[in-house]
């Protein structure tokens, strides 16, 4: 269950939040501004919102429901903003918190003794300044790509060391053939808007699927008592 309430320095004065604990999620929505930080670690795909069918960008953290293969990394690997934000949400210009989140209880204080936001809460506020407009910028990026027919479905089939197989559905990536066939004017437009960079980051991030699978195999082998 969730219990989302607007944050205030009176009732939430002594509240503590675990800053570094990541959700156990295998796919998380990301914004275009994060791509340079994400691409060295995570595959970035397009996927569709199950409620509206709208495309969004997401980073893959694992293969099975709730499998985050980066949980143990802490600060070593860039964490997508939607994981960093923990139990916080934005409600208009205010910040809200889900009091029922398991991350609420121990950890960082949100306010100092004078009632001013703590360093941690300030970092969350700064995060939303990137995340909120970032979502709109990403939506426009996707809209432009759809208009140019640059998005295509991708099938990913994997087999792991324990003999299991995975077929990942509902993922989309850049259509490289359509990219090569673009008219010069469109290429220039994509470049000027900074989209060409994002496109190539998405393409190069596909190589991370292999490393993600290796992470899973390492974990599996450890679990099976096999040599790493």
């Amino acid at each position: 269950m969730t219990n989302i309430v607007p944050l205030n320095n009176q009732s939430h004065r002594d509240l503590r939040v675990m800053a570094l604990v990541s959700d156990e999620r295998n796919f998380v929505a990301v914004v275009a501004g994060e791509f340079p930080h994400l691409a060295p670690h995570y595959p970035i795909f397009f996927s569709k919102d199950s409620e509206t069918g709208a495309f969004y960008c997401g980073a893959m953290l694992g293969f099975d429901e709730g499998e985050n293969l980066f949980v143990a990394e802490g600060r070593n690997v860039y964490r997508p903003l939607n994981l960093q934000r923990g139990p916080f949400f934005v409600a208009g210009s205010d910040i809200a918190i889900d009091l029922d989140s398991p991350k609420v209880g121990s950890g960082e204080l949100l306010f100092d003794e004078s009632g001013a936001p703590s360093v941690y809460l300030k970092s969350i506020m700064a995060l939303f300044r990137d995340l909120v407009p970032g979502m709109e910028q990403t939506r426009i990026f996707i809209e432009v790509l759809l208009g140019l027919k640059l998005i295509e479905p991708i099938d990913i089939n994997l087999s792991f060391d324990d003999g299991t197989r995975r077929s990942l559905a509902g993922l989309y990536t850049i259509n490289q053939e359509a990219l090569r066939d673009l008219a010069d004017a469109d290429v220039l437009m994509l470049f000027r808007r900074g989209y060409l960079h994002l496109i190539y980051l998405m393409i190069s991030s596909l190589a991370q699927v292999k490393f993600l699978a290796q992470r899973k195999n390492t974990a599996l082998r450890a679990g099976l008592g096999l040599p790493r």
Partner: protein
Amino acid sequence: MQPVKDIVIVGGGTAGWLAASTIAARHQGRIKAGQFSVTLVESPSVAIIGVGEGTWPTIRTTLKKIGVSETDFFRHCDGAFKQGGKFSRWTTGADDDFYYHPLVLPQGFHQVNLAPHWLAANDGRSFCDAVCAQGVLCDEGLAPKTITMAEYDGAANYSYHLDAGKFAPFLQSHATGKLGVRHVLADVIKVNQLENGDISSLDTAQAGTIRGDLFVDCTGFAALLIGKTLEVGFKPCSDVLFCDTALAVQVPYDRPDAPMASQTNATAQKAGWIWDIALPTRRGIGHVFSSRHMSDDEAHSILAAYVGPAIKDRNVRKIPIRSGHREIFWKKNVVAVGLAAGFLEPLESSAIVLGELSSKLIAEQMPANREIMDIVAANFNEVTSYRWGRIIDFLKLHYCLTKRTDSQFWIDNADPSTIPERLQNLLKVWKYRSPWFFDEFDRLEEVFPAASYQYVLYGMGFRTEVDPYELAVDEKLAAQYMRQNITSSFRMRSELPKNRELVDKIVTYGLQPI
């Protein structure tokens, strides 16, 4: 050589705009290069008939090919999903008498014929439920896809219910806006012919003379070019299909979120049947009947009983149905599409699909010049005659398998003298062998494939004798597909949203192009 490059379509109903869009989309390159033109002449004073609110899955390919977005279609045409027909009271007339004619093929249809295996099992399951999931989806009012599936993709095969009064203007704005079709609003006052009988041009009251190389007659029942000018005869089939009148009414829902059926309901009556088509904003209901067997008054009271109190104050429209078609469809440089080519009762929604298939054939086989046109026309006539014949057979199948004897209408319908010979012969053959892939229906584009015959035959209790030795050949494969059907029926039931819920979402959020 006299090139064929200026196409003139006369009539601005569904058939006219379908033909214009299909031809223009296929010849976009030449149109853009200024070497080809498509002009649609529409009388500003003639209202469109707007029959046909049901379509076949071919409509998805047609719309996709002419470059229409499925989201736009739903938003502008009051569109809803259709997953087949539910036929009630056609066999015995009892309350529990119904069967489905779904739009999906039986499982593994290209590998194995499940019909004999279903017949042998004789386990009380309906044929439809034994071989496919779609009857269950219809029973539960589910949509054939989810919001995350791309435009025109589906988990189950589907077509649409639509508002014909909105569909024609929708196609018009696409054809004129995106495909370069010229739209002329003018009344044709004189048809000018050459010595060889070809039509050379049309004189109009408002827009002068319009010349053309090929004329497509979409003038509906008037059949201005193919009938009045070129005097091609009409071949009635009222000796086979008796219904000749329809009383149609539009009924609003009692609340905006009322469930919306995802199939066309066709409920047999004393001397005909009632269609019930669910659109998001209203239901279209009509009583199709044989005036030889029933008076208008009685037909009206049967319709009123079906609709209930909601019929009060609603406008009931009377539509004559002159069942039959032209003797030929393409003569000289005139080809007829839509009601000008023929009309049948809307039992299996054949009107729009025939218009689509004819438009496609014209677009694909567009003669390069006048010299080869007669050869193309001969082929068109052969294919189109075959299609009309098969549709008439298929509609008759729904009637002639009845066991009802409660009125003269049903007794007459089962009388062998009213059943076309080809159908009679096939029914004899099917007593010993069920219709299947690569059988009697081997044309590239059959309107109703062998699977459709299976659904109607076995839905209506027809029995084919089963040879146990033949069954053994593919028994394992058949069992495998039957099991697969159970699994996939279960999966689809749990994954698919309600029909209305999805249509509302499409209107709100849209479907993605991929």
